[in-house]
């Protein structure tokens, strides 16, 4: 990993990045630049390398080839998938958020400054009254906010989120989208992965279609097309438009219909 020039336009730039786990290639020749105030969604089928790409951006996965350049001193916050969190772990909301302050102070208890900072970030996300609650005793939206709060306590310039709306209901998804929109308006660059093409991806300003390699980049109108999606997912989809937004429909044909068509054809 090398450092970008402090005056470079990108926060992180990937050039021809390839990654592999035990000989299995999961990313091939990925070129991607993340700029300040960018809001990008990475979409693709399961096993397409979305999380690996996020981890390359985070710096926890090293590519086998290609280069990763970062702006010096770049602060990156990471919000894991809720499915990846150990919800039985004995940690309160306040303790969880304070984890972001592991470096520097060695004493176990929080300083007055830290207390104020944790209170401030929890208040910003509307969960200040939950500081003493166990993380499992929260709604889906509140749980997402706790991990966003932990990431924000590190004052990141770039926020990475792995499937922030995976397994949540519509109301929680709306909460998360509004929250991310607010954070983006405040100047934060955000890159997230999602499976949800209509509920999440179509609402984002910029998308990357990934299936081991990048198959399309641009606005939802540019990327959520039948051709790009077929190359990405290996399945035919139909695109409708509603209020200027693309809506993706499965072109699923039930098996008995297939037989009927075949008989007709015969």
């Amino acid at each position: 990993m090398t450092a970008l020039s402090p005056t470079a336009s990108a926060l992180i730039r990937l050039d021809g990045v390839s990654c592999a786990y035990g000989g299995t290639r999961v990313l091939t020749g990925v070129d991607l630049a993340v700029t300040p105030r960018q809001f990008t969604g990475i979409v693709g089928p399961s096993g397409s390398g979305k999380t690996t790409l996020l981890r390359v951006l985070l710096g926890t996965v090293r590519p086998v080839s290609g280069s990763v350049q970062r702006r010096p001193g770049l602060r990156v916050g990471y919000v894991p998938q809720v499915e990846a969190v150990d919800w039985s772990f004995p940690v309160t909301v306040g303790e969880c958020v304070l984890m972001a302050r592991t470096r520097g102070r060695r004493l176990p208890w929080r300083s007055r400054v830290e207390q104020a900072e944790v209170g401030e970030v929890l208040a910003r996300l509307g969960i200040e009254s939950l500081a003493g609650r166990h993380i499992r005793d929260l709604s889906g939206g509140q749980q997402q906010r706790v991990f966003i709060a932990r990431a924000l306590l590190g004052r990141p310039q770039l926020l990475l989120m792995d499937e922030p709306t995976s397994g949540v209901d519509v109301r929680t998804r709306h909460e998360v989208l509004h929250l991310l929109d607010d954070l983006h308006r405040d100047g934060l660059a955000i890159v997230l992965t999602t499976h949800d093409l209509n509920g999440m991806a179509a609402h984002l300003p910029h998308l990357v279609c990934l299936n081991t390699e990048v198959l399309g980049q641009g606005t939802p109108q540019e990327v959520l097309t039948a051709d790009v999606l077929e190359r990405t997912y290996g399945a035919r989809m139909e695109i409708l438009e509603h209020a200027g937004m693309p809506i993706v429909l499965d072109q699923y044909v039930p098996a008995d219909n297939v037989l009927r068509y075949r008989r007709k054809g015969a």
Binding site: R55, V76, A84, M99
Partner: protein, 299 residues
């Protein structure tokens, strides 16, 4: 009352009581990380591995604490390295290393039995051989581990809860894991004399499990578990004298009885808190390259 205080007239009992109390607190403290990281099997295996070093050093006339300590540290680091690299299943690797070491200890006792500390004491614990030097050794180990936990509190917590994000945040999780293994080896070594290798794992697991049933805060769990470990050591050692039962089984049974009481009081609420504790098929330390223990896969 006089009957209750009578054992305090004996130096061996006073020494054993101090060692049991401090060792209980020590295991309660370290056990929190052992349980939360799903390392109970490592704790169990490591205690058996250290038995090999215990036997070898006792029979060779080397200082037992030093010999078993070096052996334990080497085993701990080996287990830590194998677990992180995932060359083979970590549970299988731990099984091979620790049972081979334990078997070596048994073989050494079988061939050269009669010299050094007794076989039964090493397996099931005994307070008869606890000297003043042993007391100070256990106090020193407890103090050293407490300092590690105190000053490493934040890094240990982050690495235990979320190793991937901890690593990305600048925490050297590999070093933290290695340190934790060394601390675990030190705790087992310090406790082995009173509890024996077969029962050390119980005092690493029971106090944190009880503490978890009582609180959902990590800091409170750490304090409670340490206190519960000390209490069970103290009460168990006293009961051991009065009931004329070996110290190891008595301390473990006191812990188990306390677990039953807390379970009766907290009921399903307490059990719900412990749901998922140590539920991993294989013990997992912070893996390299950001692969999480709960993540569905590398994608």
């Amino acid at each position: 009352m006089q009957e209750l205080l009578r054992p305090f007239d004996f130096e061996f009992f006073r020494n054993g009581l101090v060692v049991a109390t401090f060792a209980g607190a020590l295991c309660g403290m370290v056990g929190v990380y052992v349980v939360l990281k799903g390392m109970s099997y490592i704790g169990h295996g490591l205690s058996h591995a250290i038995f090999g070093g215990f036997a070898a050093s006792a029979l060779l006339g080397v200082n037992v604490v030093l010999g078993a300590g070096v052996w334990g540290a080497a085993s701990a680091l080996m287990i830590s390295g194998i677990t992180r690299r995932r060359v083979i299943g970590s549970d299988a690797a731990i099984g091979v290393i620790t049972t081979a070491s334990f078997a070596l200890g048994l073989a050494l006792f079988a061939v050269f039995g009669g010299r050094g500390r007794s076989f039964d004491a090493a397996l099931f614990g005994s307070i008869l051989g606890v000297s003043g030097a042993d007391v100070w050794a256990v106090i020193a180990v407890t103090a050293a581990v407490a300092l590690v936990v105190f000053f490493g509190y934040r890094q240990l917590l982050f690495t235990t809860f979320d190793p991937e994000v901890a690593e990305a945040s600048g925490v050297h999780t590999a070093r933290v894991d290695a340190l934790l293994m060394l601390v675990l080896a030190a705790a087992i070594l310090a406790t082995m004399q009173v509890l024996g290798v077969t029962l050390v794992a119980a005092v690493l697991v029971i106090p944190p499990t009880i503490a978890r049933m009582l609180t959902s805060s990590f800091s409170r769990m750490l304090l409670l578990s340490t206190g519960i470990g000390a209490l069970t050591g103290f009460v168990g050692m006293n009961l051991s004298y009065h009931l004329d039962v070996q110290s190891g089984p008595t301390i473990v049974l006191v812990g188990a009885a306390l677990f039953a009481v807390v379970f009766a009081v907290t009921g399903t609420r307490g059990l719900r808190r412990t749901a998922g504790l140590d539920d991993h098929a294989a013990p997992v330390l912070a893996p390299p390259h950001g692969r999480r223990r709960h993540a569905g896969g590398p994608y």
